[in-house]
């Protein structure tokens, strides 16, 4: 400091030093948060990809003189006929809803691998070990499983997406869970969106200050903070038990479903769970519409509904939409309530309608995570990636839609 600004008594140097130290501390906090995110992502990736040591139950070379991949469809069918019992084949066709004649060679090949070759992963290694300690791994495998083949494997692959549940990690897939989650979401949105937006409009536009409305508002705010597992208990008690006639479809003459542990019950439970969040988000969007807009409308002699329909809703729509998508992404990731309303991770039949039993992505993750075998951890990680991708794309859609809508109506 020079000239006029240098006062000897100034305490500024000290103050700037203290300021610098704390700035570093604050930055560190932020950095740790970011670090956590990074570690989380790495952990997952670490488990999804990596080396596996695989041992085939039946030696492939005994099945054909060429590599199995190169065989024609009828050759593959021949192998199946030879090695798999007729009953088993029938079961497979019934469960899958296809006949062997229809399906392409690729799928037949898959069947051959699954039913005949039956490869088992004896050992799987995380990504980073696989990359940096390949030699050690090879040595270890050579010693422990002399007849295993080692190759680099992505647990997240096409089969994983299209297969349904299986007790064999390599064969297990998330198709059923994915469909389950989608069904739940559709029901959730169909239930919660109209009611949520309606409630938000009621509270923001119509509600007077009467005690009824105050109670409603307070109630919604508090419901938003109720732990999801409590909703699960509620869903269990109401939708699964008390209303089981409705949720199992018995009341509508649907056969084959015994209890209320259906997609419908799960969707409704999720609907209740996201409803307060959706209402609050929508309320915020409606509230963000400047009052001046309403006044302008009323001042022109518009009725209340004209005002809402023509001005408030269009202006609030981007906000409502984002709010809804955010609420939905919450619903996709929720696990606890689904555990309570009885998602079963062992289901391998896609839900056929709202009265089906179901499983869902997070349930699948939960289930696989809590199993002891290492390979389930790998597919849990793969399922997590699927889940995160779904979430991120939903969010991306939300952001894009909002941007487009706001640009059009600035």
């Amino acid at each position: 400091m020079s000239g006029y600004f240098s006062t000897p008594k100034s305490n500024l140097a000290m103050r700037h030093r203290v300021g610098g130290v704390w700035k570093a501390i604050f930055f560190l906090s932020t950095a740790i948060g970011l670090l956590a995110l990074a570690v989380l992502v790495i952990t997952i990736l670490d488990d999804v990809f990596g080396l596996v040591a695989v041992v085939d139950k039946v030696d492939r070379t005994t099945l054909a003189d060429r590599p199995l991949e190169d065989l024609e469809k009828d050759e593959l069918l021949a192998i199946l006929d030879k090695k798999v019992s007729v009953n088993r084949l029938r079961t497979i066709q019934r469960n899958g809803g296809f006949t062997l004649d229809e399906i392409p060679a690729g799928e037949v090949y898959e069947l051959v691998i699954a039913e005949v070759v039956k490869p088992t992963v004896e050992e799987s290694y995380p990504l980073f070990d696989s990359l940096f300690k390949r030699a050690e791994i090879e040595a270890e495998v050579a010693q422990k499983h002399p007849d295993a083949t080692i190759y680099f494997y992505s647990w997240l692959n096409q089969r994983f997406l299209t297969n349904s549940m299986s007790t064999t990690p390599q064969l297990a897939g998330v198709r059923t869970a994915l469909f389950g989650s989608l069904w739940i979401i559709v029901i959730t949105v169909a239930f919660a969106f109209p009611i949520g937006v309606g409630a938000a409009i009621y509270l923001e536009e119509y509600a007077s200050r009467s005690w009824v409305n105050r109670v409603i508002q307070t109630n919604i705010d508090n419901l938003a903070g109720v732990p999801s597992i409590v909703y699960g208990i509620l869903g269990l008690a109401i939708f699964v038990r008390t209303l089981s006639a409705l949720t199992s479809g018995k009341a509508f003459g649907v056969e084959g479903v015994e209890t209320g542990r259906t997609v419908l019950a799960a969707g409704l439970t999720m609907g209740l769970l996201v409803l307060p969040i959706l209402i609050i988000n929508a309320q915020e969007a409606v509230r963000a519409v400047p009052n001046s807009l309403r006044q302008a409308s009323y001042g022109l002699g518009a009725t209340q509904w004209q005002t809402i329909w023509h001005h408030v809703l269009p202006s609030a729509f981007p906000g409502i939409l984002t709010g809804t998508i955010l609420a939905v992404s919450r619903a996709i990731g929720e696990t606890a309530p689904l555990i309570l309303v009885g998602a079963s991770s062992l289901i391998n039949k896609d839900p056929q309608g709202i009265f089906s039993y179901f499983t869902a992505l997070p349930i699948q993750i939960y289930n696989w995570t809590s199993r002891p075998q290492a390979e389930f951890r790998n597919i849990a990680a793969a399922a997590i990636i699927v889940l995160l991708v779904v979430l991120l794309s939903l969010n991306a859609v939300a952001i894009l839609t909002r941007n487009r809508l706001t640009r059009r109506a600035p």
């Binding site: 001046s292 006044q295 302008a296 001042g299 022109l300 002699g301 004209q306």
Partner: protein, 261 residues
């Protein structure tokens, strides 16, 4: 001035009007007679109830749940607070322009057309839009692109758009609550000139914090202040020229010369 006027010659007449928010009497006992096709200004210190009075003229206060009123507000001799009167209809006849320009986030065209449309206007909308934009002295500035958003205009233009929008509903009276307080001095003067032109066809009532504005732009001025119990009262009402050169009441004098409080 007003005694000689027949009631059908008044644009708005209040009788023993008291305005309340809950138990708080915000405005006390106002007998105001607004002359048609003139500009009437309401001035007074902050919180004296100017806006409350103005908003009682087209029942905008209905949206404040705690609000209620006593007395009468006569429009064409009819009390607009009578039970069989529809406030929506009142607001069609008595338009309003607000403090902050608040165009709809729509095109300029739709801003003007919307009010007419919901009120069942069936004739040529293009003509109406052009005509009202001309009336609001905005046509020349926007005619090249009526599809542009109303929000893309400058503050002063937005306010004139809001005026055009109000005109399109064909009101008789236009209420303005500090219409220029968000504008710069030049835009303000433009709006004032516009008001002057409009007053040939419309009755205009304007609330303003800006005494100079009331002085410049109005024909009649009502001065409000608060009495001891914080209720707004009308102290003096008369020709603007008289109020600003020779007010009759000491409180008016103190206020307009800046010696109040």
């Amino acid at each position: 001035m007003t005694e000689t006027l027949e009631k059908q010659h008044l644009a708005i007449e209040t009788r023993d009007m008291h305005l309340f928010y809950g138990h708080f009497r915000a405005v006390k006992d106002v007998d105001l007679q607004v002359i048609p096709q003139k500009i009437t200004a309401i001035i007074g210190p902050s919180g004296c109830g100017k806006s409350t009075v103005l908003r009682s003229f087209n029942r905008m206060n209905d949206f404040v749940p705690s609000f209620h009123m006593e007395g009468e507000v006569l429009f064409h001799g009819q009390n607009i607070y009578a039970t069989d009167v529809d406030p929506v209809m009142v607001r069609q006849r008595i338009g309003m322009v607000f403090q902050k320009p608040n165009p709809f986030p729509k095109s300029i065209y739709d801003n003007v057309a919307w009010g007419a449309r919901i009120n069942g206007f069936k004739e040529n909308m293009d003509d109406l839009v052009e005509q009202t934009l001309r009336q609001a002295a905005l046509w020349d500035e926007v005619k090249d692109d009526l599809r542009k958003s109303g929000l893309s205009l400058s503050g002063g233009q937005q306010q004139r758009l809001c005026i055009a929008r109000a005109l399109a509903v064909k009101p008789e009276i236009i209420l303005m609550d500090e219409p220029c307080s968000a504008l710069d001095p030049i835009a303000t003067l433009k709006i004032e000139d516009l008001m002057r032109e409009l007053s040939e066809q419309y009755t205009i009532i304007i609330v303003t914090h800006n005494m100079q504005q009331a002085a410049r732009a109005s024909d009649h001025t009502a001065f409000f202040t608060m009495d001891e119990d914080r209720a707004g009262i009308m102290v003096e009402y008369g020709e603007t020229n008289q109020i600003f050169t020779n007010p009759r009441d000491k409180r008016t004098e103190d206020y307009i010369t800046g010696r109040f409080g």
